[in-house]
Amino acid sequence: MDLSLNEDQRQVLDFIDSLARPFAGVPLHDVSLALESADLDAQLLENGFLDVMAVEELGPVTAALVVEKLARLPFAVEAAASSFVRPLIDAELPRPLCLVEEGRVTGPVRFLRPGATIVVVGPSGVRSFTADDSMIAPAQEDTLYAYPVAFLTALPDRMATHEADPAQVLRAWRVAIAAEMAGLLGAALAATVTYVSERKQFGRPLATFQAMRHRLAEDQVMTNSVYWLALRAAGTGDPGDAALALLHAQDAAKRVCYDYHQFLGGMGMTLEHPLHLWTYRLKLLTAELGGRGEQGLAAATALWG
């Protein structure tokens, strides 16, 4: 048992910090909540940050740390699937990677666009294809999610088949999303804490009101443990740990998203405060892989049969 960052991990995180610094600001945006940056994406790729899982001295815990850290940025980056699932299937698949559950393809698909690789995971195995215009329906422009999303209108007749074990891919998928949610939860909490510490009401900062303090403190407890459960699930590779981590992350997200906007009052309804960039990603991830109930069922089966 050793829960300290090792030297390699510290270096990777520091490097990302400096690389990401120019991308920490929130550009003005009006209707669309989905901010992306091709430049950031390219730099991450170039520096190999989305490939750390396969590096022996780094491995999955470091990959989770990377995904967690990137999720804190205002820009949505397709890091989770690329970091955790791509190495299990085929490290050369073109990004972005869009993960879709077999039999549940009607939902909004994050990062779906022409050229993206769609990976379909399910009982029949792990298959993939490259998306093109003919199979994509755009979401309405003012979708409420802070990811780029689109809908699949059809699956192609032929897909590439991969050797990978679907159960393993599913496990990695859960870890990846849990790690991403850990970062989103951390960023949303930090943004809320900053705002309520500064914003005054009734002559004192909002954060001095005990009811809000206690709720934020409980949110800190949840956020902290989502972080640890995600890292642990990455480290142990255990399917039960992965399902518990995502269940806990989705429970936490459900708990905090409404609260944080509430704490911001009117400002929480605007696009002038960036909170929505994290919460409206969390909301979509609440539904990932069927939502909390499905993670709970998966965890129960893994833990108790």
Binding site: Y145, T270, T286, A287
Partner: protein, 381 residues
């Protein structure tokens, strides 16, 4: 006690539904995505409310002497419910008939009544409510927009925020400060929005176009006759108008309708089979119905002619709980709804997330419940 509607009440509800069915366009749900405060819906409402007025269901709950039918609080409730479930095709005009009209009748000068009441009854006017300020959100008593009486005119300087409808409204029901007394220094002025010196900035928002604005007042000059009531009477007038609006919007009805809609979508796709999904849906329904009964208990007090007190805060908070639960249900089990698959559910989500902020933040309701329902000893200030 009696938990069913009378035949007359049922008939009244059906009359409204029939009207809506006949007068809302086929693409209404998609259209209503524009948002209740958008230019498109505001324009629509100007025609729709005229028709409502013609059909006698714009203000049937007003007393006969005001031109209404003198229907009771239950009928007002039914009217509000049906309009809100339908996505509020009256746009911002719902405020006119719920509280601006009755408040004008009670406190307005003869000139003000003559000028403002008729356009309301014709379904043609739109008001905005200049209450919140950047440093006085829930804390109205600390507002700072200043009105100075000079040579028979009020000169207004200051800033309002969150103001819904501001970009399109004809008139602002504006709270101003005329002296330094926290509560007794506040005065209402009815300000035409085309008065020089008013600048409206729309703030892009999560909840739809036209819903949130900043309004700046730079040496805005209106005659003294624009004052509504006496100087310093704002606190009393606002309390009166809130009494007319105590229950606020019957949000629980839309929440329940959205839930039913969501369940139907899931059923249509064979996805309403999982036990946990069904249980969550039931829990949402329980919260909607809980909010409904809590609200009805408040309406009952109006029916009985009793003063409405802190129990309205309990009803409002119950509504916030229901709104939240339904929003979360949709997000978790029908994520596609917010990305284009259901304008109705997206409309509900955008209105739902405001429930705990608009018209008295949820935390304020909790404070009132703690102090006035539970009678807990007060917090030290």
């Amino acid at each position: 006690m009696q938990f069913e509607w009378t035949a007359e009440q049922d008939a009244f509800r059906h009359k409204i539904r029939d009207f809506l069915h006949a007068n809302l366009p086929d693409d209404w749900e998609k259209f209503s995505e524009h948002g209740p405060a958008s230019p498109a819906l505001t324009a629509f409402a100007r025609e729709f409310c005229v028709k409502l007025a013609e059909a006698g269901i714009l203000f049937p709950h007003w007393p006969v002497e005001m031109g209404g039918e003198g229907l009771g609080p239950w009928e007002q409730q039914i009217l509000s419910e049906e309009m809100w479930i339908a996505g509020e095709p009256r746009g911002g005009q719902y405020m006119n008939v719920n509280w601006i009209g009755p408040t004008l009748e009670k406190y307005g000068s003869a000139e003000q009544k003559a000028r403002y009441l008729e356009p309301i009854t014709r379904g043609e006017s739109l008001w905005c409510q200049g209450f919140s300020e950047p440093d006085a959100g829930s804390d109205l008593a600390s507002l700072r927009t200043r009105a100075t009486l000079t040579d028979g005119n009020y000169v207004i300087n200051g800033q309002k925020i969150w103001t819904s409808y501001a970009g399109l409204a004809d008139t602002c029901f504006l709270l101003t400060r005329t002296s330094d007394d926290r509560k007794k220094g506040i005065t209402i002025i009815l300000v035409p929005m085309d008065t020089p010196g008013i600048t409206v900035r729309q703030i892009p928002s999560l909840i739809g176009e036209g819903d949130i604005h900043e309004v700046f007042f730079d040496d805005v000059t209106v005659p003294e006759t624009a004052r509504f009531g006496a100087e310093g009477q704002a606190w009393e007038i606002v309390a009166y108008s809130l009494r007319n609006e105590r229950l606020g919007i019957p949000r629980f009805t839309l929440a329940r309708a959205a839930l039913d809609r969501g369940v139907a979508m899931l059923q249509g796709q064979g996805r309403f089979t999982r036990e946990h999904v069904r249980i969550e849906a039931a829990r949402c329904a329980a919260l909607c119905e809980a909010a409904g009964t809590a609200n009805y208990a408040v309406v009952q007090k109006r029916v009985d002619g009793l003063a409405i007190g802190a129990e309205s805060s309990s009803a409002r908070y119950a509504t916030v709980m229901a709104e939240r639960a339904v929003c979360e249900f949709v997000v978790e089990f029908l994520p596609e709804a917010l990305a284009g698959a259901s304008p109705y559910l997206k409309m509900h989500h955008q209105r739902g997330i405001v429930a705990g902020v608009a018209a008295g933040a949820a935390e304020i309701q909790l404070n009132i419940i703690a102090s006035d329902v539970l009678e807990l000893p007060r917090e030290p200030r």
